[in-house]
Amino acid sequence: MTLARKKVVWAYIFLAIPIVFFAYIRVYPALFAFQMSLHDYNPLAAEQPFVGFENYEKLFSELGKRKSQTKSAFQNTINYVLLGVPIQLCLALAISLMLNEIRFMSTLYRIMFFLPFVTSTIAIAWVFRMLYQPRFGLFNVILQLVSLPQQPFLRSTQQALPSVLALVIWQGMGFAIIIFLAGLKQIPRTYYEAAEVDGASRWHTFRYITFPLLNPSIVYLLVLQTISFLRMFAPVIAMTEQGRGGPLDSTVTVVLQTYREAFQSFNMGYASSLTVVLFALILGVTIIQLSVTSRRIN
């Protein structure tokens, strides 16, 4: 056997287990999910009849209703993305710009900002749930100290979503800060020196040097954070009564709705159609990213 032949054989021997794994644990289940979404799939029933696109028709008619759990799930998820991503990235960018210019204690700050990111979401969401409690929760204690009215937070249909969102922004900010700091380090110092010689203001330096050169990090984070907000689940189940996404569906997300349909009501066909739509949304975001980044390279 020649060396080249031998290398091909060994490459396939080494890859055998990963190939089987990806085929069976990643590719096949993805196709299975599509297939399930075309069936009235209930694991407890004797039969799983083929129903064509009925699950999708049901999904879109639910979305068309004035009020339904599915509609709330999609509306809330979009709200989480549209509010959460910009707020989180703006805060992270502001913090990174400040962190980038200081030396004393900068490592300590960086560790503190980044600790929430490596913490179990469930554990810390329960901590926030306690902080939001009426009477003894820290936030209401502070409000009382400064003589402001007490707030219901998680118990109000208006305040619950922002309250959950605050936790998610708080927890994920450290990740964005690390990516921004890495991006800022790559901007050549000479640009700033030139700006200083020209007498550019701090705002102009940011507007015409930092921001454009940081664009790759910004696009990257926009996509990653959009996807992670689209997939939100753990904070909502931990922070709402019985993990239902309440009060009155005001915090329920697409993934939580999927979980409840699939594993509490056993409507697995319908739940699969929800995940297929989620997949389409994520794919859309990824394609937009690819087209934006490839345009920049050209």
Partner: protein, 298 residues
């Protein structure tokens, strides 16, 4: 990906954006930066302090508005350890995280080695299939995985087994991609010299490529351990008996028992979060550099 930057240089102080503007303005800017950063860092730490302080409060003090316990007690810890399954959840989380981390370290680096250093027919399509699997959200695979686990090809059921909790994460596409990037830096001459000396192909991987890639494998192990330790949605679905819960699943189930035993939840949360935070603080430099380089998300 920041291929052009040597990893060790990213967080050195050199090459920072130079201070801009006049000296007086600069002093004010720095002062406000420190002030703001300190305030934000404080909000990052307070929830952790509140969690730990509550874990030492006797039940009678929970609803009182003191930050620190008046009569600190270890009763919560002994209750959680003796009266709940938390020690088992701890063991389960640890076993699952170790299984998947060891497996990921081996298979991801082996597959990364093959994609970096071998040429064989079908290499490109296989690699692309591995990468596209990253775009399919885990949520879409949960329901098929659950069906597969209840009726698996090997054994009678995977539900409530360590393998059942761990299997989706024993090989990861992101890890293979990371290892491929890193192993492209292993010199071909070294491998060819090994072949002339009669080293087997597996020996080349194990005795040449692995030792040269230890920093990347180490980073991969840390991320993977953290990710599995904190994983929630799949362990929630893959376990039904309390003895098989992982820590996040167990903490989430606390609530369904009595009416929210806050002191016990905070004790469980502290036990799940604090040891890991200590590990993260020790390895923070590697973790932060690793995230910045790879953009891996936990």
């Amino acid at each position: 990906m920041a291929e052009s930057v040597a990893p060790s240089n990213i967080f050195k102080d050199q090459g920072r954006g130079a201070a801009v503007g006049k000296a007086g303005e600069d002093w004010k800017y720095k002062f406000f930066s420190y002030l703001l950063l300190t305030m934000i860092a404080f909000t990052m730490i307070v929830p952790f302090l509140w969690m730990i302080s509550t874990s030492f409060k006797p039940e009678s003090e929970i609803l009182r508005r003191y930050v620190f316990p008046v009569e600190p007690t270890l009763d919560n810890y002994s209750d959680v350890i003796n009266k709940t399954d938390l020690p088992l959840w701890y063991k389960n989380s640890f076993i699952v995280a170790v299984i998947s981390t060891v497996s990921v370290a081996f298979f991801d680096s082996l597959a990364g080695f093959v994609f970096a250093k071998y040429n064989f027919p079908g290499k490109r399509p296989i690699f692309i299939i591995f990468l596209t699997s990253l775009m399919v959200p885990t949520e879409m695979l949960l329901i098929p995985w659950f069906i597969m686990s209840s009726n698996p090809p090997i054994g009678s059921t995977w539900v409530d087994t360590y393998w059942g909790i761990a299997f989706p994460g024993v090989i990861t596409a992101s890890g293979i991609f990371l290892m491929r990037q890193f192993m492209q830096g292993v010199p071909d001459e070294l491998l060819d010299a090994g072949r002339i000396d009669g080293v087997s192909e597996f020996g080349l991987y194990w005795r040449v490529a692995v030792p040269l890639s230890l920093p990347a494998i180490g980073a991969l192990c840390i991320f993977n351990f953290l990710g599995n330790w904190n994983a929630f949605i799949w362990p929630l679905i893959a376990t039904t008996r309390s003895e098989m819960f992982t820590l996040p699943v167990g903490i989430q189930q606390f609530s369904s028992e009595a009416d929210t035993p806050w002191n016990l939840i905070m004790t469980g949360a502290s036990l799940s979060v604090v040891p890991l935070l200590i590990v993260v603080i020790i390895f923070q430099r590697y973790i932060i550099e690793g995230i910045a380089l790879t953009g891996l998300k936990g």
